[in-house]
Homo-oligomer: 598 residues x 2
C-alpha cells in the first residue's frame, strides 16, 4: 500500500537529511509527487475553497470583526501547512471556537486580533521547539467534549439573533439569551424567512449527502450520485450565493427587507507587522503592555485550544486514513501560520473540522491542496468583495448553525455514565463554566480532572481479605499522597483492634516507591514490632526489594517463599506463552475459514 | 496497658456523646483523670514553661516584633489545646518557622501580626470543619525536609548578626549574608564573647543530655543523672538567666558592652479584637482590604505550614508514644488558638518540636500540662518583664541557633538518593526557593512533586517482551494522560513495522479505566483489525471486562483462556495462603526460641 504522506517518525529514518525532513515534511513527499495526485489535490483544494469563503465570512461575524478579516485569516494556512504539516487532510483557517475565543479576548478590535495572532503563534512555535506537545495528554476527552458542546451551543445561539434580524444584543451568554427572547417582537420578517429557508436547504443537503448509498454501480446513477455529492459539498457556497442573489434582486427593486453584510474593504490586506500599541476611540494610546495584560488568560487558552482542536482533528483523520501525525510538528505549523498571519491582519486560526472532512472526502493526496484553497480565497478577496455587500447576515448565520450543530454530542454523556461515571464531573464543570467565560471552561475542566487524578493516587483501592493473616492488596501503585491513607487503614484494621493482627501487604502492583512511602512503612514496621505481630510485604518487584526492610523482618524464610513464588510465576509465564501461541493459531484458522466461506 | 489519652477514633465509639467527644477530646480523658497524672503534668508543665519563656523572647526577635509579643503568643495555646487537642505531648506556641514566615509577611508590625493570626486561625478552623486535613497528604517528606533545612539555615544565619552585635543588616537572605560578612569589622567584642560562651554552654549541655546512659542503677548515680537531666533540660532558662545576670552586673558598673533587649511593656496584654485597619508612620490609613492584599500568598502558606509543622510533630510523638492523632481535630485546635490568640495580640503559632520533645520526655500524661506552662508564661509577663531588660540579644541568638541546628538534616539527601533519586528534585527546589522567599519554597516544592506525580501517570512503565506475539505489560494503572503514550508505543512497535504484529496488552495492574482510555483503545482495535493482526487484552480485572471490547476480538477462546488463568490464580492463591500460615508459624517459633535464649 502506498502512503502519500510521511509522518514525523518515518521521516527520521534516514540520517543526513533526517532532521531537516522532520522540520520540513514537504521534503519527504514532494520528491515522490505524482501527476495523479495533482488532479486530486486540485479538485479537493477547489472544493474546500468554495466552503472556506462563506465560512470565513460567517466566522468573522462570530469573531465580531468585519467580514474581510475572515478571508484575511484563511489563506496563510494553506501555504505554510503545505511546507510544515504532517497530515494530508488538515486545513488551517478560522474556526467557530477560535473566533468565539478571539471575540471574548479582544472584543472585536482588528488590530488587537492581529497582535493576539502574533503572540499566540510565537507561543505555539515556542512550545513546538521546546517539544511541549505532550501537555495535551493532560486534556481528557470529557473536557474536550464538554468544551465543544458548550462552544457549539454558545456559537449556535449567538447566530439566532442574526436569523431574527435583531440588533443590540449583548455578548455574555446569559444576557444574550435573555435579550434574544426579549426582543423577538422586533425581529424582521425578511431575515426570519430567508434564514429559515437557508437552514432548511442546508439541513436537506447535509441529509442527502449522508444518505448517499454506494451500492448501485450503474453509470447513470453514479453520475447522479456525483452530482448530489457535489451540490451537497458546495452547499455553503450555493446557499450563500443564492441568498445574496435574492437580496440583490430585492435591493435592486428598492425593498430593503434583509440585514446585509454591507460595505467591505476590497483587495488584499497589506503585508505589515501588527501594531504593538493601539489608540482607542477617544484618543488614548494603549501601550503594548496594557494590551497584553488585557489578553490575560486568553494568551494561555487560545494557543492551547488552537493546538487541541487541530491535533484532535488531525488524529481523527490520521486514524481514518491510516497515517501518523507528529503533535509537535503540527504545533509548529499552526504557530508559524499564526505568526505569518498576523502580518496580513489575520486573527488566530487552527485546523477546521468541517473543511478538513471535505478535504479528506474529496480525496486529497498531499497538503498541497491547501495552496489551491488559498488561491481561491485570494481571488475572492481581489475580485468578489463588492458582491459580498449583498450577502444577507441570516444566510451566514444559517451556515454557522449547521456547522456547529454536529458538535453537540449528547450521546457522549450516556457513554461516560457507562464507562466511568466520575468522568462526568470534568465534563459538566467544563460545559457549565464555558457559558460563564468560554476559556474558563477548559481551565476549570483541566483543573478538575487533575484533582481527580491526584485524588485517585491519594486514595488507592485497598482490598482487605482475612486469610488467617489480614491480607491487604493495593489496587494500584503507592506514592506519597497515599501513605497517610494506607497507614490509617492498617492502624484501624490491624493495630487498633485487640488483639493486634499480622498483616501481609500485597505490593505486586507497586512499581515505584518514594522516600515518603519508605519512611511511613518503616514507622509502621516499628509499630508492628512493638505489638509483637508481623508486617510482611509480598509480591515486591525485584527493583524495589532492597528498599523495603523485608529481609529484616522475614530473614531466610522470606527468601524461600520468594523462591517458591518465582518458580510458580515462571511456570505460569510458560503456560501463558503457550496459551498465547494457541490463541494466535486458533485465530488464524478461524480467519482462514471465514475467508474461505465468504 | 493504660492509655492516658484517647484519639479521635476511640472517642467515637459510644453513640450519644460521641460527636461532642470528637470535637472536645477533653471529655474523653478528664473523667478518667488521676492524681498520679497530675504530678507528672505539673512537672512537665513547669519544665516546658522554663523553656518556653526564653524561646518566646528569642522567636519574637525572629518575627521582628518586640520581645513581649513572643510571650503574648505563648499562653493561649496551653488552655485551648487542653480542651481540643488529641495528642498529650504537643505544645502550641511561637516557633522558629512561623516567626520567620510572620516576619516575611507582616514585616514586624504587631497590629498586622495579630490580624494575620486571626485570619490564619479562621482559615484553619474552616479547613477543620470542612475536613480538609487530607490536603496535607500532598506534601511529601522531601518538600518538608527541604523546607525545614532551608528555614533552619535562614533562621540560624539571621542570628549570627546578633551574636556579632552588628546593626542594620537587611532581611533578604542574600543581602543578609553579604552584609553580615561585610560588617564583621563592626562587631562588638562583648556580644561576640558572650554569644560564643552561651553557644558553647548550650552545646555542652545538649551533648551531656544526649549521652546520658540509663544502664547504671545505683541510687547516687541515679540522682546525679537526674540532676544533669534537669540542668540540661532547663539549659535555655539557665543560660539566658546567667547571661542576663552578667549583663546586669557590667551595666551596674557602667560598662555597656552588650546589646541588650531593652525596654519592654510590662503586664498582661489587653483582651481586644485585632484592629482591622492600620495607620502608617506618615499618617496614611491602610484599609482592611489593603492589609489582606499585602498578606498575599502568606494567607495560604501560613495556615498550611502551621498545620504541617504541628501535625508532623504530633504524628512523630504519637508514633513514639503509641497513640493516634486526628489531623482535622489538631487543625481545629490550632485554628481556635490562633483566633483567640489574636485577641491578646499574639502572632500565628503552631506546635513546637523542641518544647513538645521536652514535654514528652518529662513524662506528661495529658494535655493539661499546657495549662501549667501557660500560667508560668502569664506570671513572667506580670512580674518578670523588668528583668528582661537585661537579657543580652546574643544569648537569645545562641538559644535560637541551638534550637534550629538539629533541623538541618543532611543525611536525608543520601537516603533519598538511595531510595528514589527523583525525590531530590522537589527537595532541592524547595530548599533553594526557600532562600528567595520562604513561603515560595513550599509552594514550589508542592508544585514540582505534583508535576512529577502527574508525569508518572502520563508515562507509565511499559515492559515489552517478544513471546511470539508482542506482550506489553503496563507497569501501573492506565488513566487518560497515558493514552497517547501507550498508543504511540503500540503504533511504533507493532503497527508501523512490516509486517504488523499482534499485541497482547497485559492489564493486570489496571484497576480503573476512564472514557479517554476506552476511546483510544477502541481506535487502536480498529487499527489492528485494519491490518489483520490481533490486539488482545489479558489479565483484565472482572470489574473492567465489559468496558474493553475483548469479547468482540477473542470470542469464545478468550473465555477459555480466562478460565485457565482463573484456575491457575486460584491454585496460586491457595499455595500463597499456605505459605503465609507457614511463615507465621516459623516466625512464632523463632521468636519463642529467641525469648528462651535471652
Amino acid at each position: 500500500m502506498e502512503q502519500p504522506l510521511l509522518g514525523g517518525a518515518s521521516a527520521r529514518r534516514c540520517c543526513s537529511l533526517s532532521t531537516l525532513k522532520a522540520w520540513l515534511p514537504v521534503l519527504s513527499w514532494l520528491p515522490r509527487y505524482r501527476l495523479k495526485w495533482l488532479q486530486m489535490d486540485l479538485l479537493a483544494g477547489l472544493t474546500v475553497g468554495l466552503t472556506t469563503v462563506p465560512q470565513a465570512l460567517a466566522y468573522a461575524e462570530v469573531a465580531e470583526l468585519p467580514v474581510q478579516f475572515g478571508l484575511y485569516s484563511s489563506f496563510m494556512g494553506g501555504f505554510i501547512y503545505t511546507l510544515l504539516g504532517t497530515s494530508k487532510d488538515v486545513t488551517l483557517g478560522p474556526t467557530a471556537i477560535m473566533s468565539l475565543l478571539c471575540a471574548s479576548v479582544v472584543g472585536g478590535e482588528p488590530h488587537r486580533a492581529a497582535l493576539l495572532s502574533l503572540l499566540c503563534g510565537l507561543i505555539q512555535a515556542g512550545m513546538a521547539i521546546l517539544r511541549l506537545g505532550f501537555l495535551l495528554d493532560f486534556i481528557s476527552y470529557p473536557v474536550i467534549k464538554g468544551f465543544t458542546c458548550a462552544a457549539a451551543v454558545t456559537i449556535g445561539f449567538s447566530q439566532v439573533k442574526n436569523i431574527l434580524g435583531i440588533q443590540g444584543v449583548p455578548r455574555e451568554f446569559v444576557w444574550e439569551v435573555y435579550y434574544t427572547f426579549y426582543k423577538i417582537p422586533e425581529s424582521r420578517v425578511g431575515d426570519v424567512v430567508l434564514g429559515l429557508l437557508c437552514l432548511l436547504l442546508l439541513v436537506m443537503l447535509t441529509y442527502m449527502k449522508s444518505s448517499l448509498g454506494s451500492e448501485d454501480d450503474s453509470t447513470s446513477s453514479r453520475a447522479a450520485r456525483k452530482l448530489v455529492w457535489t451540490v451537497a459539498t458546495m452547499r455553503n457556497a450555493l446557499v450563500v450565493s443564492a441568498a445574496s442573489l435574492v437580496a440583490f434582486s430585492w435591493d435592486a427593486f428598492g425593498h430593503h427587507v434583509f440585514t446585509l453584510t454591507g460595505k467591505t474593504t476590497q483587495g488584499l490586506p497589506p503585508f505589515q507587522p501588527p501594531p504593538t500599541s493601539d489608540t482607542t476611540a477617544n484618543g488614548t494610546v494603549v501601550s503594548f503592555g496594557e494590551i497584553v495584560k488585557g489578553f490575560g488568560g486568553g494568551l494561555a487558552v487560545i494557543p492551547f485550544m488552537g493546538l487541541l482542536e487541530s491535533i484532535a482533528i488531525a488524529k481523527a483523520f490520521a486514524s481514518q486514513n491510516d497515517y501518523r501525525i507528529n503533535a509537535n510538528q503540527e504545533l509548529l505549523a499552526i504557530g508559524v501560520t499564526n505568526v505569518m498571519g498576523s502580518f496580513v491582519s489575520a486573527y488566530p486560526v487552527t485546523g477546521s473540522f468541517g473543511r478538513t472532512a471535505v478535504n479528506s472526502q474529496t480525496g486529497v493526496c498531499t497538503p498541497a491542496g491547501g495552496i489551491v484553497t488559498s488561491i481561491i480565497v485570494l481571488l475572492s478577496l481581489a475580485f468578489l468583495m463588492p458582491a459580498f455587500y449583498y450577502i444577507p447576515k441570516a444566510s451566514l448565520a444559517a451556515v454557522i448553525i449547521c456547522a456547529v450543530a454536529p458538535m453537540v454530542d449528547y450521546r457522549v454523556v450516556a457513554k461516560m455514565w457507562r464507562i466511568h461515571k466520575l468522568d462526568l464531573l470534568p465534563f459538566c464543570v467544563t460545559f457549565l463554566m464555558s457559558f460563564w467565560e468560554v476559556q474558563y471552561g477548559i481551565i476549570g475542566g483541566v483543573a478538575v480532572s487533575g484533582v481527580l487524578l491526584l485524588y485517585s493516587t491519594a486514595r488507592p483501592q485497598i482490598k482487605v481479605s482475612d486469610q488467617g493473616l489480614l491480607v491487604m492488596e493495593l489496587g494500584s501503585g503507592l506514592s506519597f499522597p497515599a501513605t497517610e491513607y494506607l497507614s490509617h487503614v492498617i492502624h484501624t484494621q490491624a493495630l487498633q483492634v485487640s488483639p493486634p493482627r499480622s498483616v501481609v501487604l500485597d505490593c505486586h502492583h507497586v512499581s515505584v516507591i518514594d522516600y515518603t512511602v519508605v519512611s511511613e512503612l518503616r514507622d509502621l514496621l516499628r509499630q508492628f514490632k512493638l505489638r509483637e505481630v508481623q508486617f510482611i510485604f509480598s509480591g515486591v518487584q525485584v527493583s524495589l526489594r532492597h528498599h523495603l526492610a523485608t529481609k529484616v523482618v522475614m530473614g531466610k524464610n522470606y527468601q524461600n517463599i520468594e523462591k517458591i513464588h518465582k518458580t510458580l510465576k515462571k511456570i505460569l509465564k510458560t503456560i501463558e506463552k503457550k496459551i498465547y501461541k494457541t490463541i494466535e493459531k486458533i485465530h488464524k484458522t478461524i480467519e482462514k475459514n471465514l475467508k474461505n466461506y465468504s
